[in-house]
């Protein structure tokens, strides 16, 4: 617990609320507009509520209501077509935000609305590369990583993503997501190709074949689809290594005392963005909300509650301890320099164009693979 930082936080929120109140006099005149934020629910939404929604309401008097979805653009497409859009702000992965923006489902969003860092660093330098899209602003980054049971390999531990495929030194079944994404990247990386060349090489038949050959070399793969499955399989001892989302693994380590460890090498980061759907009823309040939640202080507060990396460098430096356990959260967020050193930057433009074909290719391979 760090009381001083908490106080600073509240004071900052009040100050920001004042300035927002002065800057947007129209906000007070509306009959108590309620801002509806579409997000992912669960532990993530709980953290968002504490770090973002409640302080925003305290600062501006605008209540925030959270709605839950599991990604996908179908509902948004229908809402925009009908003209009745029930949400003002949506928490969306960047891949989907890019697609939705191209389809004209989103309002353009300028990074000019963002606040500078406390030391005056302008947002363009403070935010991580590629944080600004035409309609989307990244607020946090989560990662798909490999976690392993600490007790599975006495005397040694995996240090590189190639160890995921090294069954001689690290024997035992693996759990992997039933998608080509991430698995192909890791499989090819295990041949020690440079990160920069991953997608160039995966663009060739030879590269794809090499990657699948590596996956084929694993004796036993348990495929998962829901994000909650891999920590369960690790805890139950069904597998010794598993891919999964870093937040879920963290949750299992903290709240369930699971004997697992995250391997950060080769982590694949993805951006979570804020977008404003076309036809939002309160676009001005939505912009204020986005500005408020992406300040250095608010991003750092979120990262104290759930180990998702802030999109701002200044916020990453300010991340402190978990409010309940006092755990140093910096070591658990994907964007921490130690963890991010060998991260894979997902080529989302590549996936946007090729996902269908890659998926078919992967499915054919899966079908041809003999079941264990």
């Amino acid at each position: 617990m760090a009381p001083s930082s908490r106080h600073r936080g509240v004071a900052g929120a009040l100050l920001l609320g004042l300035t927002l109140g002065l800057a947007a006099p129209g906000a007070g005149q509306e009959t108590a507009p309620t801002l509806t934020v579409l997000s992912w629910g669960g532990a993530y939404e709980r953290a968002q509520r504490e770090a973002w929604f409640e302080p925003f309401t305290a600062a501006t008097g605008i209540p925030v209501e959270a709605a839950r979805y599991d990604g996908g653009l179908g509902a948004l497409r229908r809402a925009v077509a009908s003209g009745e859009v029930p949400w003002d702000v949506i928490d969306m992965t960047r891949t989907e935000a890019m697609a939705a923006c191209e389809e004209g489902l989103l309002e353009p969003l300028s990074p000019a609305l963002l606040a500078p860092a406390p030391d005056g660093t302008p947002p363009r330098q403070d935010f991580l590369p590629d944080s600004f899209g035409r309609c989307a602003i990244t607020h946090t980054l989560f990662a798909t990583v490999v976690a392993y049971r600490r007790d599975a390999f006495p005397g040694q531990r995996p240090t590189s993503i190639a160890d995921l495929f090294d069954q001689r030194r690290f024997p035992g079944p693996r759990a992997l997501q039933r998608t080509p994404a991430v698995n192909l990247e890791w499989a090819l990386l295990s041949y020690r190709v440079p990160h920069e060349e991953l997608y160039r090489l995966l663009s060739t038949r030879r590269g794809l074949a090499l990657a699948l050959a590596r996956l084929d070399s694993l004796d036993e793969i348990r495929w998962w689809e829901g994000g909650e499955e891999p920590p369960e399989m690790l805890i139950a001892g069904e597998v010794v290594m598993a891919s999964g989302y870093n937040g879920r693994f963290f949750d299992a380590m903290i709240n369930r005392d699971a004997p697992i460890e995250i391997l950060w090498d080769g982590q694949v980061q993805e951006h979570e963005t804020w977008v404003i759907p076309r036809g939002s009823r309160h676009p001005e309040a939505a912009r204020d909300f986005i500005r408020f939640t992406t300040t250095t202080e608010r991003l750092a507060e979120l990262a104290r509650r759930i180990p998702y990396g802030p999109a701002r460098r200044s916020a990453t430096r300010q991340v402190t301890t978990h409010p309940e356990t006092g755990l140093d959260m910096r070591l658990h967020i994907p964007t921490h320099p130690l963890n991010a050193e060998r991260a894979i930057v997902k080529d989302e433009a590549w996936y946007a164009r090729t996902l269908g074909r890659i998926r078919d290719y992967f499915r054919d391979w899966l079908a041809a693979r003999p079941e264990p």
Partner: protein
């Protein structure tokens, strides 16, 4: 010509001719500046007993800027040269980085790179583009080359020729057009390299810099080398390789005076590269992998075989270029034809398209290719590169050699693997050995190839393995084929660098530069006695017989005339006495040939006649002038190669 203007008139030099060896005081008196006479004494000592020392007296024929200056001024001049080197390096590095990025961008936009081909989801259009893009690119290249006087792109061979013959001065227009056509070639997927154009671009830039500042020949050579070093340092992000390449391939000597500016250029290039071009290392090796001692024998053998692959590659390029002349196609259309053929082949084997970075990477991975596949891709890549370069695409030979060599090494590695127990983690050693064994002979640079491996991998084990391979590769290829592809090309154009730079220089200097009419010419009808009187007046020992129509009819010496007069019944006119035994020269005859001719002759001078009719008398070249020109050239080389500052 500066040197011609600086030569004393034969009259002036004849006054010095009396045979007593000059004393050192005389040297001071005639030699002018103190430092010049010091050099002359040093020069004169080994040659002392002859008359030569007196000939060297008027040696300060060099422009002042080439004379070494010591002290504060010399230091300032030297530092300025280093600064100029860094400046040339900086500009060359930015151009190189821009060039590399532009090629990558074009490859993405024109559906050449695998990534763009994968992302483009229209199979029919992709098929059409695979053929149309290289063909149309070839057409553009062909049209661009019409703007170059030679009708062909300039390459590192031209840089080497400029530096080795000390002519310097790379033409900016041809250089710019060559770079542009190389950009189009590479962008459109031709199987050519990108480092050759970068080297030539850097060299042109360096030459341009010296020209703008009106500096001398030596400075020109140094700034050319600076541009070359910076281009390599940037493109590979390997500053040491850049420095060594400039010395090993372009300058071909080591001088402290040249080293500092070149090092400055390479460092600037390296810094810019690490800021602008973020690129993955060429090879990755597991830390644990160390080859078995017996594997070094295999690396040596790969070197020997690699030399043959390099030879086949070079022969193929030269052979296609020769055959191209017999095609019923104009030079403008040839690249387009090559592009179309390349595109059609690439429909089956896309690995041969473009620079081939993906192919290179896969070749270093054990199991990515089967042995049969490796052989097919290897042969096709050689054929594709020979086709593209031979039919007039613009580009280098190095990047394809990298791919070919790595494929060859991988082939050796997988054959060894099939024979016995080869651990997969030393596979990359075979690939790298093959790569070095093929590239080093092609560009004539074993040290550079080694340093590239070292700087790109940081692996000492890998570098030692490469050393084993290059030990045999370079000398075998040099014996069988020539020092490098550049040298073979230059020899075909009439510049033989195999006997070193001094001879090339003499072969590149025409005697026309030393032609004089300050000699005694006689009509064939001149009586012997009158001829002797004329010679006595002019204080010459020889006269040249030229008829009324200006045709050369032989030469007579004072001794011949004396003998004729003593014989009494001899012929009365010089026409009958004159002999035509003495070899004649043409204005274009090289200084080297003149010196060879002089070995057979004792006399004052050699007559020069018009080349077209073979008899119109143009004048003479004095033996003393030839000797002096030789010494002047040697001295200039010595200053350039051994001068410290």
């Amino acid at each position: 010509m500066k040197q011609r203007a600086a030569l004393p008139k034969p009259g002036a030099f004849r006054r010095l001719r009396p045979a007593e060896p000059a004393s050192h005081t005389q040297l001071h008196a005639f030699g002018g500046q103190r430092h010049t006479s010091i050099t002359v004494i040093a020069l004169a000592v080994p040659l002392a007993p002859s008359r030569l020392p007196t000939y060297t007296l008027n040696m300060e024929t060099l422009p002042a800027s080439q004379a070494p200056t010591r002290g504060v001024m010399g230091m300032a001049r030297f530092l300025a040269l280093v600064l100029l080197g860094a400046l040339v390096g900086g500009v060359a590095a930015f151009l190189a980085a821009g060039f590399v990025s532009a090629v990558l961008w074009l490859n993405e936009a024109l559906l050449i790179s695998p990534r763009s081909r994968m992302m483009f989801d229209h199979p029919g259009l992709l098929l059409a583009a695979t053929i149309a893009v290289p063909a149309l690119g070839g057409l553009v290249v062909g049209l661009l080359h019409r703007g170059i006087p030679e009708g062909r792109p300039h390459t590192p061979a031209d840089v080497i020729a400029a530096v080795q013959t000390r002519r310097g001065r790379l033409p900016a227009r041809a250089g710019g057009l060559s770079a542009l056509s190389a950009l189009v070639s590479l962008g459109a997927g031709a199987s050519v390299g990108q480092y050759g154009p970068l080297v030539h671009l850097g060299a042109t830039l360096g030459s341009l810099g010296t020209r703008l500042l009106r500096l001398g020949r030596s400075e020109d050579n140094i700034t050319i080398a600076c541009g070359v070093a910076a281009a390599i340092a940037t493109a590979f992000n390997a500053p040491l390789a850049g420095i060594v390449f400039a010395h090993e391939v372009v300058l071909r000597h080591y001088a402290l005076r040249a080293f500092a500016p070149i090092a400055a250029a390479a460092i600037v290039g390296h810094v810019i590269a690490s800021q602008v071009l973020a690129r993955g290392a060429l090879f990755h090796v597991t830390d644990t992998a160390v080859p078995h001692p017996w594997e070094f024998a295999l690396f040596l053998a790969i070197g020997g075989l690699g030399a043959l692959v390099a030879g086949a590659y070079m022969r193929a390029i030269l052979g296609v270029a020769r055959l191209a002349g017999r095609l019923p196609l104009g030079p403008t259309l040839r690249p387009a034809a090559a592009g179309a053929l390349l595109g059609v082949t690439a429909l089956w084997v896309p690995d041969i398209l473009g620079i081939g970075q993906e192919t290179l990477r896969f070749a270093t991975i054990a199991g990515a290719y089967g042995s049969g596949e490796l052989l097919v891709v290897l042969a096709l890549k050689i054929a594709a590169t020979a086709l593209c370069l031979g039919l007039g695409f613009s580009g280098g030979v190095f990047s394809p050699a990298l791919v070919i060599g790595t494929l060859f090494g991988a082939l050796c590695g997988s054959l060894v693997g099939e024979l016995g127990a080869l651990p997969a983690d030393t596979f990359v050693f075979y690939a790298v050995c093959g790569m070095v064994a093929v590239t080093a002979p092609v560009i004539g640079a074993p040290l550079t190839s080694l340093l590239i491996v070292f700087e790109l991998t940081g692996s000492y084990a890998l570098t030692t393995a490469a050393l084993a391979s290059v030990t045999l590769a370079s000398p075998i290829a040099a014996q069988l084929f020539g020092r490098s592809l550049f040298d073979i090309q230059l020899r075909a154009r009439g510049l033989d660098l195999s006997a070193g730079r001094g001879r090339a220089l003499l072969q590149g200097t025409p005697v026309g530069d030393y032609l004089t009419r300050d000699c005694v010419t006689l009509s064939p009808t001149t009586p012997v006695a009158a001829a002797m009187a004329r010679l006595g007046q002019a204080r010459h020992g020889e006269a040249y017989v030229v008829d009324a129509r200006g045709r050369y009819r032989g030469c007579v010496t004072l001794a011949d005339l004396e003998a004729t007069r003593a014989a009494r019944d001899g012929p009365p006119t010089v026409g009958a006495v004159a002999t035509s035994e003495r070899p004649v020269l043409h204005p274009a005859t090289s200084l080297w040939s003149a010196m060879v001719a002089l070995q057979e002759v004792t006399g004052e001078a050699l007559p020069v006649v018009d080349e077209t009719d073979g008899e119109t008398f143009l004048g003479v070249v004095f033996e003393a002038h030839i000797a002096r020109a030789y010494l002047a050239h040697s001295d200039a080389l010595r200053r350039e190669e051994h001068g410290t500052v």
